[in-house]
């Protein structure tokens, strides 16, 4: 190891900035999950009933399911280009802690797909009859939930990076693991609307998020090493 090694935080920042720049140049691809999110939530009133008071019953759950599916859709290609052109291989060889670099990449991905979903959710929720009083809980639960999902999905994407038809497989791997997020997130919204305090499920969501944040990079770097080494 030479003394001139870039500090880890600076390296992670470089990875983050690089992904943001790349996304900025292809912003139409970045917008796709967001459009998907809106389209999916539009399907529920059409499939069930346009009655807002009836939609309100399932509104929180529908927003959550659509958000999970939309962020999964975008995760499939997370590592693909970098593994194919050898960038990840250089990261493995760079001597930097791989987990931090991958976490920076996932963070960039979350800013580009998770955060827009969170910001969009009040508008989508209003269409499903959610009252303005539920906006805060909806957004904060999605904020924690999409963050955790990005990390879980990062593990899944790292495992399936060299696999044909990886997108179906990725959903099959990650969705069962994401069920607790769905349960706590949609219940938090429902509890707020029923007049109960949503603090419990929100705290549980935060606990899961921090667990994913601390253990996720380890699993992600192990998975990437497996995909790169062969």
């Amino acid at each position: 190891m030479t003394a001139a090694r870039t500090p880890t935080l600076a390296a992670a920042k470089l990875v983050f900035q690089r992904d943001m720049t790349l996304a900025w140049r292809r912003w139409d691809e970045v917008a796709q999950p967001l459009i998907f999110y809106v389209v999916v939530t539009t399907m529920f009133p059409l499939a069930t009933t346009p009655d807002l008071s009836a939609l309100r019953e399932i509104g929180g759950g529908v927003v959550w399911v659509a958000a999970l599916l939309a962020s999964l859709l975008a995760l499939e290609a997370l590592f693909r280009a970098d593994v194919e052109d050898g960038t990840t291989e250089q990261w493995v060889l760079s001597g930097q802690p791989l987990g931090y670099l991958l976490l920076a990449k996932v963070a960039a991905h979350w800013v580009l797909t998770g955060l827009p979903l969170v910001i969009m959710s009040p508008i989508v929720g209003t269409g499903l009859g959610l009252p303005t009083s539920a906006w805060g809980v909806l957004m904060s639960s999605l904020l924690l939930g999409t963050g955790t999902l990005s990390i879980l999905g990062g593990i899944g994407a790292a495992l399936t990076v060299g696999v044909r038809r990886g997108s179906v497989l990725l959903s099959l791997l990650v969705l069962p693991l994401a069920m607790p997020l769905l349960i706590f997130g949609s219940r938090a919204v429902a509890m707020q609307m029923d007049g109960d305090s949503p603090a419990g499920p929100l705290q549980l969501l935060a606990a899961i998020f921090f667990m994913a944040l601390s253990l996720g990079p380890i699993a992600m770097s192990a998975a990437i090493r497996i995909s790169v080494e062969n």
Partner: protein, 243 residues
Amino acid sequence: MSWTWFHKLASPPHAYRILGTIAPWFGWASLALILLATWWGLVKAPADYQQGDGFRILYVHAPSAWMSMFAYVVMAVAAGVGLVWRIKLAHAAAAACAPIGASFTFLALATGSIWGKPMWGTWWVWDARLTSELLLLFLYLGYMALRASFDDPQRADRASAVLALVGVINVPIIHYSVNWWSTLHQPASVTKFDKPSIDLAMLIPLFIMIAGFQLYFGWAVSRRLRGEILRRERNANWLKEAA
């Protein structure tokens, strides 16, 4: 302390031979215990005062549910051992556990649903235990799908091992979140029904059945692991000499 016995155990020819020796013991013992528990549970144990004879499906349902979790933990431990010490045999053992565990999970779901018909009046209730079993089945299916999607067996081993470890950390979270979700929605009568204070006369055959299922698991894993070893070592010299 010498670790030679451990390294010996991890070598395919030794493991193949040892598994061949112990498999029949597991098999016959499990058959004896399962037959004993079947007779005890179906004939000797008293009928339930509320559920009548319908409760007797418990003797298949509860052991399968127990084994479905047990097999997942065994699989994850084997996968972890394989990942850390790079023991191919441990990966083979994890691969052998997955279909058996998935079958137990399916059996627990099917018997739970058959049990639900006379008790709840429907084939399916979104009960906490059934729902967590269903999610466990999804985890097994994901694991097997990931394993099947690699051409290179070593990559399949290691990638699926990471998934098994992530899964085993998540299983308790999934279990408790589903429990919490269920208690918010279900009336208390169901949870009361779920945890009956069970009579000792009904409990003894249940324990015998669980022991029988455990031994069956040992037998099935030994047989499948032998098959895995044969498949993976098909070009090895020791097999040609043995044949």
